[in-house]
């Protein structure tokens, strides 16, 4: 395996004494698509949020895109410029239009000229098929539309890695597909993706590897065919039977 783009080495994290990540070892290769699943409270969101340091780890080594994450603010900002993130609750900036949401970071972080940033933003909006809403405010859009805008916002910095933290969990059922379609398209374009989700159809369709977490540990990881047809641990079997069993 070539130099991994994300490297967890014996990473540990505590929330006020609660051991939320236990000895996490994980390597993600460039271009790889990872799906992380597990029961709530298993630490999967925390793990993904450590990658762009929305959460800090207390022990172990975490290297993202060649930069080791620690207290160095400049290093953190560099990693964040190269890592896009999509949140469960979209987290669009409600006081800005869609276009302003997309150009904010390119203009103020990457120091791109406004015209260039806007042209690129429109391109990304077309990519998520929502260009006609560019001048609306987020709260005027449906949940699915907002999440697609959020994906476009993350893409505007041309990230090397995309993180998705339960991107469809807050959506009405009929809007889940429009978001998944965009994510599948993105996966097809060679983007490195780490995705926390319970959409097992998505995992089967695009994941190179599925990771199952429980109680702060990586319990099992395998390619999707193997993961779904032949889970090894009892905890994985139990989890899969619960989410696939109806």
């Amino acid at each position: 395996m070539a130099e991994p783009i994300i490297l967890f080495e014996k990473v540990n994290k505590w929330f006020d004494g609660f051991h939320v990540l236990k000895d996490i070892d994980l390597q993600v290769a460039a271009g790889e698509r990872i799906v992380i699943c597990g029961p709530s409270g298993s630490g999967k969101s925390t793990l993904i949020r450590c990658v762009n340091r929305l959460e800090e780890h207390q022990e172990g080594r975490l290297v993202v895109d060649g930069v080791e994450l620690g207290d160095d603010v400049k290093a953190i900002e560099q990693v964040r410029r190269n890592v896009g993130m999509v949140f469960q609750q979209f987290n669009l900036f409600p006081h800005m239009t869609v276009l302003e949401n997309l150009t904010l970071a390119p203009v103020y972080v990457a120091r791109k000229p406004k015209a260039e940033a806007e042209a690129n933003a429109m391109k990304q909006l077309e990519r998520v098929r929502i260009a006609e809403q560019a001048h609306k405010y987020p709260l005027q859009l449906s949940g699915g539309q907002q999440q697609r805008v959020a994906i476009a916002r993350a893409l505007c910095l041309t990230p090397h890695i995309m993180l998705f933290d339960e991107p469809t969990s807050a959506l009405d059922p009929e809007m889940i597909n429009e978001v998944l379609e965009v994510m599948i398209e993105l996966a097809g374009q060679g983007m490195t993706m780490v995705c926390v989700t319970h959409e097992m159809g998505f995992a089967k369709a695009v994941a190179d590897r599925v990771i199952f977490m429980d109680a702060g540990q990586i319990v099992e990881q395998a390619p999707p065919e193997e993961f779904f047809s032949n889970p090894k641990s009892d905890r994985t079997k139990d989890f899969l039977s619960k989410i696939l069993g109806h």
């Binding site: 964040r80 949140f87 987290n91 006081h95 405010y137 993350a154």
Partner: protein, 346 residues
Amino acid sequence: MKKKSWIRKNLFANAWSSLATIVFAVLVVAYLPGLLNWMVVQAVFGPNVDACQAARGTGACWGVIAEKWRLIVFGRYPHLEQWRPALATVLLLGLLFASCVRKFWTLWLVPAWIVVWVVFFWLMHGGLGLSVVPTDQWGGLPLTIMLSTIAIAGAFPLSIFVALGRRSKLPAIRTLCTVYIELVRGVPLVSILFMASFLFPLFMPVGKSPDVLIRVIVGLILFWAAYLAETVRGGLQAIPKGQLEAAASVGLGYWQTQRKVVLPQALAIVVPAVVNTFIAIFKDTSLVTIVSLYELTGALSIALNSDANWRPFKIEGYLFIAALYFTFCFAMSRYSLWVEKQVHHG
């Protein structure tokens, strides 16, 4: 028919509504004629002391305004030089008005603010061809408007930094801001003004203390910044954590996040509360009278107390300055509604 249903719906919708309508109607019928009689019919409008004395108790004496308006509006400022505060105030009000209009929100406002304030203080204070008028002779409406404008323009930005500081991750800054807010907010404005005026010079080398007006302005800014900081902090608390995370995830630093993401939303939420405080700041400038700065209310007292003939007509005087205060406060209130509309999206 239409009129009838309107009356039914708005005045007699139910028993309580009907009762309220009747009570108000009775009050209006009972008191309005008397009030109008006093304010208009029997009132004396000319500056005629004898006529006013004769009408005492039955009609208002608006003559007191006609006679004393220059003292009320300009305080002890030398009579022949009063065109200077008048012009300075007009300039300042023009600047404030322009600053409130979206069309003028360009970088030109910055030099405009500097130029108008320089000219304002030159006109008020003198020098360069104008006779010098020391600050203890400034007074009336120009002083009220100047003090409240500087207090607001100074305290509001400061309050934002203090509010951010109180939520800072750095313990030293957080403690400093918290102590400042609690200390300053915990004492009456009057005592701050006393300290600025009488206590502060005791700690300074004789003759080295800055002018009392400057000390009072600093006191006002520090006092109101502590108040506003808590209002602003209320807005900051209302911003969901997800907004900060989204800003961080696209690489915005602390100040960029505050300026572009947090403050625009937080300040939009607190517009009504902030303008509420602005109105209080404007009215509470009247407290500087106690340190011998005769702004509008102080100037009114001087104007009436210095003349035994006109002294009885205080009510008319207070009604006059109440109308002035109301005009400014109502304008601020309406402007705040407009601002609220501008910042509301989706």
